[in-house]
């Protein structure tokens, strides 16, 4: 019994407890937080972010970084919105957008794998190209609004519970699939091997280039899926999705790294991180706090998480040294 209690309170599960405490606090403090519409809103925004950063999780786990995901998502959302506006059927438009986004991901993967340039720089370059193109085709920084309300946008946007449930199931399903690949296949093994020691995994014969290329392609593809869903949910395409989307996405991944595999980004952790952030954002307004407090809390949580990881690593290293003696 005692063992169970201590294992539940290990640092890996800290975030889950903080999350539960936060939800209970919001429920007690603000009655409007408990309403069904607020719950739907929170699930909606968390599922968009969750899809956007699903690929980013693996990139960070393999020791790289992708800062272009908001730009690629923005480009995809603008392409979808403009395509639908110009008469492309809504069943085709998303695929055009996702294909366009994936090209950018493959391009940054190519730069990183072939020219060995730091992933931060490559994705900054690709990101600014994507934002530039999005702004040019949208004709400005202003969002492209969908005027012709397509059936699907109406159903998804107004948040019919059935459609919402279906979408949530799709997101959950893809997360479970990714979890399976991550933990039960060689690709998953290679992914963490790359993050642990690049040189060693190269010597062991892991095809680094192929994996890096496909991860960046995948990340961009999922980011564009997020952008497409953004259009379907909010009926507008946003050329510049920086600022909050960037902070939210990064926070979800880095907070998620705290859960399950202490210190390593993993998909289940990212999922919890995304839900956490969405509930945080949706809970602040009902209890009468401004949105910007949320940004501060997210930053503080990120630093707090990094400190916990650093402490647990330090302890592990100390224990290893003691064992060696």
């Amino acid at each position: 019994m005692k063992r169970l209690v201590t294992s539940l309170f290990r640092p890996q599960y800290m975030l889950v407890w903080v999350f539960l405490a936060m939800v209970v606090f919001f429920c007690i403090e603000a009655p409007s937080f408990r309403s069904a519409s607020n719950l739907v809103r929170a699930v909606k925004s968390s599922s968009v972010i969750a899809v956007m950063v699903l690929g980013l999780t693996w990139i960070v786990a393999s020791g790289e970084i992708d800062v272009s995901f908001p730009s690629v998502a923005g480009l995809a959302s603008v392409v979808t919105a403009l395509a639908i506006e110009n008469g492309v059927p809504w069943t085709v438009a998303p695929f055009i957008a996702i294909a366009a986004g994936t090209v950018f991901g493959l391009l940054s993967g190519f730069l990183i794998a072939t020219f060995r340039c730091p992933s931060l720089i490559a994705t900054i370059a690709i990101g600014s190209i994507a934002t530039g193109i999005a702004c040019i085709i949208a004709g400005g920084y202003a969002p492209v609004r969908l005027t012709s309300t397509v059936g699907i946008v109406k159903t998804l946007g107004s948040g019919g519970i059935g459609v919402q449930l279906l979408w949530t199931v799709i997101v959950l399903g893809s997360y479970i699939a990714f979890k399976y690949i991550q933990d039960h296949t060689t690709t998953g093994q290679h992914l963490y091997a790359l993050g642990e020691n690049r040189q060693a995994s190269l010597e062991a014969g892991i095809r680094e280039k192929k994996i890096i290329m496909s991860f960046f392609g995948l990340s961009a593809m999922l980011a564009s899926c997020g952008g497409v869903v953004w259009v379907l949910f909010y009926a507008q395409g946003v050329p510049r999705m920086e600022g909050t989307v960037f902070i939210d996405g990064m926070t979800a991944v880095f907070l998620g790294a705290l859960v399950i595999k202490a210190g390593k980004p993993n998909v289940i952790g990212t999922f919890i991180g995304a839900i956490f952030l969405a509930f945080l954002t949706n809970g602040l307004t009902p209890i009468g706090l401004e949105d910007y407090i949320g940004s501060m809390i997210k930053g503080a949580l990120m630093i707090f998480g990094v400190v916990i990881i650093a402490i647990s690593r330090y302890r592990l290293a100390k224990r290893a040294v003691a064992a060696a003696r």
Binding site: I65, L111, F115, R116, C117, L120, I121, A122, I124, A125, I126, G127, S128, I129, A130, T131, G132, I133, C135, I136, G140, Y141, E242, G243, I247, M250, T251, F254, E290, D291, Y292, I293, G294, S295, M296, I297, K298, G299, A300, L301, M302, I303, G305, V306, V307, A310
Partner: protein, 333 residues
Amino acid sequence: MVQRRKDISSELITLGVFCALQIGIMRVFTVLEPRFMSVDNLLGLLNLVAPMALVGLGLTFVAVTGYADMSFHFVSCFGGMTMSHMIAQGLSPLPAILIGGGAGAAFGVINGVMIGKFKLPDMVATLGLGAIAFGMAYLYSGGTQITDHFNDSGIKLLYTARVASIPLPVVLTAIAYAVGFIVLNRSTLGRRFYAIGSNATAARFSGVRVERYVIAAFVICAVVACLTNIIKMSALAKGEIEAGLMWLMPAYSAVFVGVSVFKKPTVMGTFLGALLIGTVQKGFLLLGKSTYVMELVMGVLLIVSIVVSRIDFKEIIRRRRFRAELAAGGGVS
């Protein structure tokens, strides 16, 4: 010694290629639009390059020590809003600017302590602090613009004043670059920054107080970013929170176009990078393209410079000569 000389000549070739590229780009734009070489346009070009070069200069210090800073653009939002708030409260420009820069310095110190002393991962820790700074930028006005006293306090002079007919921001940037060049390239201090970048442990055992230098690098980066954003706000004549967000990409682009020329972050390289990007952007603006092209240009140039820097020009020249010799001499026997 031989190895060193070889490095330098390879570097010179790359530098030559970049200068040729710069001159070539200016020629192309002059042919397309004769007004490109006019005094007005060249002054405008300097005005465009100056802030990019300035914010890049700060980031160069962090890049030299081998870390990444993902917070300076968020911090510059906070520094700029602090300055705007002080102006709105009726403070005169100089103290307001100093307080704005001081706010940036505080965040720089926290960054440096987190990364230099407690060895937290740089990207996550700076991003976290950046999110806090971005939230704090909203504290003054809750998200609305600050315009009080911007017209009558003289803060706009920071952008409009001219020294010997050269705009003040350009003069300030030139001074900052002179100081930056002397510190990083002509002083022991600079050698220590580079020593930390190439091997922090070795630097520590050689008696360099690594923590202090890392903190100094982050402070310089944050303060310079705040000053750049303050100049931008004085140009806009209002305090706008999201004005600072745009500095991330120009700074990294300038620094890394420079890195691809000199193979390491340098003051000269960052300036060349900013100049190259600014020239192309100004050219497109003059040709009547919309301002959205600017980001596209930045990304494309960054990729071009990465690709160019990976091409070994000396090797290509050597091979061509070898082939020519083969053709002339009829084989190597």
